[in-house]
Symmetry: D2
Subunit: 162 residues, 4 copies
């Protein structure tokens, strides 16, 4: 039985292709992700957001591992998370990720985390990134990477409209 | 595309039903699970082992969440891990879990973690557990839980022999 | 040799007593907190913020463990983090925490994370919390807790002005 | 107030200098280190062991960061942990670390984790390591590193006998 699924499942977003191009990652809450309040610790969502953007890049045919292998990283410069409802051990959660904007040196992703069973909104998030080289210096996102991200987003958006 | 799958896929183990009843969990290495050596941090495997035994209990029709909801936990008393080959960000890994033994107050699980693509052995592990109640006191595993674990293991083993 | 120190060391903040009442927590970056970029993973700062507010409450004579023991928790409703400079394995970092506001049902903390050696700003953060009971329902912060937090902040601020 | 202290505080160990050369690291349990059982998750001890051996190397005047900066890492090949008593949020714990053995290509550390207040034994552990280069290939521990580790252990043992 699949207990984690990635897809480009349609998510309603008005506006440009990026806003329509969402990737969906489903995962099961790990016991290690809970805390003594009996619910998922808020730091786990930050890791889920990261898994969500990795899933987005894979769905867009520009795997993050390839970018890293090429000597670049998308360093996080800002993080925002708003928590609505607590998730619990064993819950299936769905992380919906899309690109907020893509510039020559920056990229930003938005996230929605919902309970996969009932669809209840658990949290929303935003992460902003700059491109850095192996020495951690700010760098332009390689043109080929930008183009592949744009083309992937268009393709993903088209699939979702189909 | 499924990036994590659970199944009772057959794994060769001689001996009693428990040893033949393995659950398989596939997961994708998260960037947060890597460290400055550029590979997966050894503590991540401990969390994967836990996810593996949770998957085993689900495959055996005795979800751990039900045991916890009933006021009992399987507290870890011993942990063993042997590391062979490093996993890296983005790798698909397969965690194969089976029950080493089940007693009235104790249960032990064994684990094999392999690269899902090539099958290369990454790590093996063992965890030993005692049953504790909500106050953390050692307790007998509820008889109904033991029976469901045994019945589930038999069913899982039969499916794997089929 | 002390490798982690808590204190009420003076930090310049204009405004009400809360803004002058900062607690300082020093810690050493753990290898497990790094990632394959060779620097500290951004999720580690979220855990450091939490350690910082726990240190603030201890410095203010209202230990969080007491609040939790009393059946209440400060659930995180919003998180903000801005990252300036990467921290690395072994670095000594200083987490400066103060209360942004305290209401009958809400509390918010602000954080500054600096390199302890050079004082370089690594990250800033904000966390907003609501008080919840053991069932996770929103609740008023117990009056005694509010009073102890206020008295502790005043005392902490006075110590810093001394 | 110091909430984490490292020292070479004397620990009774019969045998060679290594066995007498223990480093002590004190830390405070973070809320993020707890789980839904209300106690510290077993994977947290694995991270504490690592912090303990880093503290040992620092106490022995051969900081791990220097070894890493030199292009070598002590990759974990085996891990053993035995859990006796659960630690809880806010507890002060003491991690006592010493070298089990040091060879030209391998090193092993032993750990005892105790409650700092009462001295109660919480867990014991062992980790075995091989030296790897930047490409992850097994390598000899640089002779200068071995010598500094041995000299540091002798010095540490002498301080503890003094």
């Amino acid at each position: 039985m699949a207990n984690e699924e990635r897809s480009g499942a349609a998510v309603a977003h008005a506006g440009d292709p990026f806003e329509r191009a969402a990737a969906v990652l489903e995962l099961t809450v790990r016991f290690a992700e809970t805390d003594a309040m009996g619910v998922v610790h808020h730091s786990a969502y930050v890791v889920w957001f990261e898994a969500g953007r990795v899933a987005w890049m894979e769905a867009a045919q520009m795997p993050y591992a390839e970018i890293a292998a090429g000597g670049h990283h998308f360093a996080v410069t800002a993080l925002r998370a708003d928590y609505r409802t607590a998730a619990r051990f064993g819950d299936r959660v769905r992380v919906v990720t899309w690109v907020e904007r893509l510039r020559s040196r920056q990229v930003a992703f938005r996230y929605e985390v919902r309970n996969a069973a009932g669809g209840e909104l658990l949290a929303t998030g935003l992460s902003e990134h700059i491109c850095v080289d192996l020495d951690g210096r700010m760098a332009k996102i390689p043109a080929a990477v930008v183009e592949r991200l744009r083309a992937g987003a268009r393709q993903l958006a088209q699939e979702q409209l189909a």
